[in-house]
Symmetry: D2
Subunit: 204 residues, 4 copies
């Protein structure tokens, strides 16, 4: 990238800030509760959203959602989508699938539609939205560090975006797993930094 | 394809059976009204849906939908998406974007999410849904013959599906335009046939 | 697009200027010979390539190529890929698949790899090349007006590029077919213009 | 997947068995040499290729290749592609980019074309080849466990394939890094198993 990227060409892509991950009682909350607390990633996310919005960046929310019974996943999903179906998680129109309090879109934000898999590009209109808004840099936060966030990072890098991973705005099931991703794979496919470093670099 | 494709491996993909195209008062209805009447494509679609459903095929509805103001399209869309925005068409949660009467999903049907462009694969979870359901053949109907239906046909062919275009279940702005697509490009990227020929071939 | 697009952000994408289409004796030459002559599209292409190169645009060549026996197409391809296999066309490493005289890459040009289908994006690294070079506008020429050029145009439009179709640098099997594409579908998915209009708009 | 997948519907996808990784003197060989030795992944790969070929599976080779100077990567690539360019690795037509001895395609194998990024689907015709050959299961081996192999695994899973990762046919820069991928992310997106378990399951 030879020319400077402006805040208007930057999108903050926020992955799965939904009750089933974030809120007590959520279908998958217990698995990530400890790491949410340890990393303080919710407070960091609120901070980066406020500052990014003020600077003119595009805020993009990317929920994962299924119809009742998860018919989108076929008869016998395996792997992580099997876990999602087994937990009956992320139902569209139900509390668990809703954006958690404090993480709901404002007018002017974009909301990704179609996400039934892990990568936020794979089954959605994210690429369409970013391209038609002239976005050249994406900064990623949300869940899980090494699952949906990482898949999205990998694809964004292949698509030629300048990819920032916000290392203090992501969480997964354990600290070991979280640290492995941030140490080993994040630097291959992105420029990892804290949310404060990101704001400093992008807005100043 | 060497093995016989079963009805369970076949999907009927129905593109934009929404009020803005089909119903009097719809934002783009006047442009297609004449061809809808001439081709009788609504009656043919109802017929093929009923028979396909009965045979065990997957019914897949693919609406195009936008937030108020069409923010997904950037500041100044050109071409056909500029026309869609100019007509204020296909708003999510409004009557114009709703599926038209007689063309609403039943339990067990799949509904494509994310469509903001023309090809039903390009910004959606259609491929994800088809693959996770084990689909190998797609049959296409809807609007417009040479726009969204044709883009979807072209992509489905590249993706290796056995593609059927239902020539009496599609319509566009004029007969000349409709006939040009069906004569010239449909046979390159699909096996064009009437809905009755399709049922005869697939179900018997 | 709010900011002006520079020649350095523009790519001329040239589809299938190979012996099997262009040169006497080519496997598919007889089908397009008449239209190549009528449209003078080869001379126009040479002209636009020279001027685009001089202005700093990226020149991108997109051949279609197969291994001997066309194993990439499965056992029994139908539609246009069946025709390609039937004609034994576009073999890699053979004369028919080679770029025709006058249409070979120079140092600094990019050559798309992987094309086995019709759309120049569908099975290739074209998107990767364009994105990693910072391209925002693509101008399209080559074969066939309503097959590979049109599929490429449709996908480029969905991907958010500013798409120009060079109406006097494309050819297909007949004038009727050519005119139908240029009249009906090109304006939906691109800004059609002659190569002279394109140079005037882009370079001045 | 409800029906049994046959060997003919299975592809062994072999990623970057090229001199620059495998052979002494290769541009990136020193970084992976220790893990190649420890895991014995080359011997395991030779074994699984022989048995897969015999059983009727499709063998698919996926090299990564660049023109001299790596023009495909833009001016200043960052992350892992910056490392590739910095090492001047994987040049097309040069020894480093060639398939290593013992890992060259035989007649009937398929060779993926276009790979300039990490995921074997992202800039290539892999999906086209798999779909047009009717493949439903992919088994993955090669380099690096947590880079190209992992990106390919993640995408194949989203595409609805039955994905097998051959845990004793992959290697990366260190054992810690290798084990982290196999423990944490491989089970999310695949069914990890040894090459012997794979042959037993698929062929018996």
């Amino acid at each position: 990238m030879t020319t400077r990227i402006t805040p208007e060409e930057t999108a903050l892509v926020l992955i799965e800030y939904q009750n089933d991950f974030i809120s007590p009682g959520g279908a998958l909350h217990d698995g990530v509760k400890g790491e949410i607390d340890r990393t303080q990633m919710l407070a960091h996310t609120r901070d980066v959203v406020a500052k990014a919005r003020q600077s003119g960046m595009k805020i993009v929310w990317s929920p994962i959602l299924f119809a009742a019974g998860h018919p989108e996943l076929g008869d016998a999903p395996y792997g992580v989508l099997g876990v999602v179906k087994g937990a009956n998680a992320f139902l569209q129109g139900a509390w668990g699938g809703d954006q958690a309090e404090g993480f709901t879109p404002l007018p002017g934000d974009l909301v990704v539609s179609g996400k039934r898999g892990l990568c936020a590009f794979a089954s959605t209109n994210l690429e369409f939205l970013l391209r038609h808004s002239g976005i050249r840099r994406v900064a990623l936060g949300g869940f899980l560090t090494d699952c949906c966030v990482e898949s999205t990072m990998r694809t964004a890098y292949e698509h030629g975006y300048d990819v920032v991973t916000l290392t203090d705005c992501v969480a997964t099931l354990s600290r070991t797993q979280h640290d492995a991703a941030i140490s080993y794979t994040f630097p291959m496919f992105s420029r990892p930094m804290t949310h404060q470093e990101f704001i400093l670099e992008s807005v100043s």
